[in-house]
């Protein structure tokens, strides 16, 4: 009798385990809605100023962060950072600095967040001065030339005068892609100066990001330029977070995942006429 009881119990337990599995086979994961709830306000203990998200921006990249006719900062990144600050329960405060000042400012505890989409590289990934967030875009670097020039490919740029923003990865990649020596390239303070140098014939091509190049072509007078069809490099770019604020890094990474999933990043890129690379981010696991 005891033996019978043991056998019956074993059968009952097996059925109990198997039954839900049988039900699980009816699940369609494609219909599931993934929960991306998060604390609002997000408790952040290491902000420079309580209640404020201090963000460094150059204000010099058309489409992403630039000054509108009303004299205010605007663009896809400004909208994204403003939404991010609101979702975190913070007030955004934008500080306009040159690109050369963004990373030193993060190291000096001046800003909580910065970089409009800094390309990942070994130095930045291992920096002790700031954290790189998960990518906000695929960073496609390109060469811009005059439309009436004979340059149609990167090979055509061998031996011609090239330039770009000093210290930026875009210039470094153009130098590498065209086989120039680094000292032969003209390092300029900003994108504006690069464009001027191209217009004036001081350089024949400059390296920049696809976002900035697209915005240039769509701006007034942009029809005198063209983008070479082969990129100089394709990587990913993210924001930079103050290294004293690991809790902010977690929050920003979470929100970037959410905004990519719910289409916010795509919507903002469309709104400001920027090429959207959200789908490409999936390819690299983000």
């Amino acid at each position: 009798m005891t033996h019978f009881r043991k056998t019956a119990s074993a059968i009952a337990m097996t059925l109990a385990l198997v039954a839900p599995m049988a039900q699980a086979q009816d699940f369609s994961t494609s219909d599931l809605e993934v929960s991306l709830d998060f604390p609002q306000p997000w408790p952040l203990e290491n902000l420079i100023e309580d209640g404020k998200l201090i963000i460094a921006t150059t204000g010099k990249t058309a489409g992403e962060t630039f000054i509108g006719e009303n004299g205010e900062l605007q663009g896809a990144r400004i909208d994204l950072w403003t939404k991010m600050a609101e979702d975190l329960g913070l007030e955004p405060e934008f500080v306009r600095v040159d690109w050369a000042g963004v990373m030193p400012g993060l190291a000096a505890n001046r800003f909580d967040l910065g970089c409009e989409g800094a390309s990942w590289n070994n130095d930045r990934l291992t920096s002790n001065d700031f954290f790189l967030t998960r990518p906000v875009k695929v960073a496609i670097h390109v060469a811009v030339v005059k439309k009436d020039s004979d340059y149609d490919s990167l090979d055509d740029l061998a031996g011609v005068k090239i330039g770009g923003v000093k210290g930026e990865m875009e210039l470094k990649h153009l130098v590498e892609a065209t086989g120039h020596a680094e000292e032969d390239a003209l390092g300029l303070p900003g994108v504006t100066e690069s464009r001027l140098a191209l217009m004036n014939g001081q350089i024949d091509a400059y390296g920049t990001g696809l976002h900035a190049a697209t915005a240039l072509l769509e701006s007034e007078g942009g029809d005198q330029f063209k983008i070479l069809s082969t990129p100089t490099s394709v990587g990913v770019g993210g924001f930079c977070v103050n290294a004293r604020e690991p809790d902010l890094l977690t929050a920003v990474n979470f929100l970037l995942a959410k905004y990519r999933t719910d289409g916010t990043i795509r919507e903002l890129n469309d709104k400001w006429g920027l090429p959207d690379t959200s789908d490409m981010l999936s390819v690299v696991g983000y």
Partner: protein, 223 residues
């Protein structure tokens, strides 16, 4: 390429707000550094080596450092090293005041040296109070020597304020650059900004001429 000045209708107000920041920065630097430059000039010409040598050392050091580096130190280094946190404009004023004080201090020292030795000896012999004799006798005679280079350095300062954009001061050139990004009209905007700088410099030159007329070469104050 067509030349379209209408860009100043839309972007002019934004750029001119930068002119206001430029003038505030300039006024702050010139007003604060002027008395400090006089003190520095006096220290550089002091008989006491305890005053003179530190002043000489500091002057040599500060004048040898590019102003942009001083601004970076004021804005990016002081918060970390000394926990001194200034906003962009204050850091720019502080950095430029430091630089300008020693540049102008040398100008003041040169002016003091231009006063004949006999004047100093006569003051000492007459036993006149130091501050009074400085104000009434020495400085008026030094002014014709001090004013031209002082104004010349002030004009350099006007142009140097553009460096403050590197630490986040939205002065005129920074705003002009931002306007160029938004409009793709570099020539119209840059030429306009150059004209505005020219007007400020013309004002300073007029001030120099007026000052030189007020102090004749003998150091007499004209009526």
């Amino acid at each position: 390429m067509d030349f379209d000045l209408s860009v100043w209708m839309t972007r002019g107000p934004y750029i001119l707000r930068g002119l206001y920041e430029t003038l505030v920065l300039l006024a702050g630097v010139l007003v604060i550094s002027a008395p400090l430059a006089v003190l520095t000039g006096l220290a550089l010409e002091a008989r006491s080596r305890w005053l003179r040598l530190p002043a000489l050392g500091l002057s040599w050091l500060i004048r040898g450092v590019p102003p942009l580096i001083i601004l970076f130190i004021a804005y990016y280094v002081l918060p970390v090293v000394l926990d001194i946190r200034m906003d962009s404009l204050t850091a720019a004023v502080a950095g430029f005041v430091l630089y300008n004080t020693f540049i102008m201090g040398e100008v003041v020292a040169a002016g003091l040296r231009s006063v004949p030795k006999g004047q100093h000896e006569a003051i000492a012999a007459a036993g006149l109070p130091w501050f009074r004799s400085l104000r009434r006798i020495i400085l008026p005679q030094a002014m014709p020597t001090i004013i031209p280079p002082y104004v010349s350095y002030s004009m350099d300062m006007v142009k140097g304020t553009a460096l403050a954009g590197a630490i986040g001061v939205t002065e005129m050139v920074t705003r002009a650059n931002q306007a160029i990004v938004a409009t793709n009209r570099p020539f119209e905007i840059l030429i306009g900004v150059a004209i505005i700088y020219g007007i400020i410099d013309a004002f300073l030159i007029a001030l120099q001429m007026w000052s030189e007329r007020r102090w004749d070469h003998k150091g007499h104050l004209s009526a």
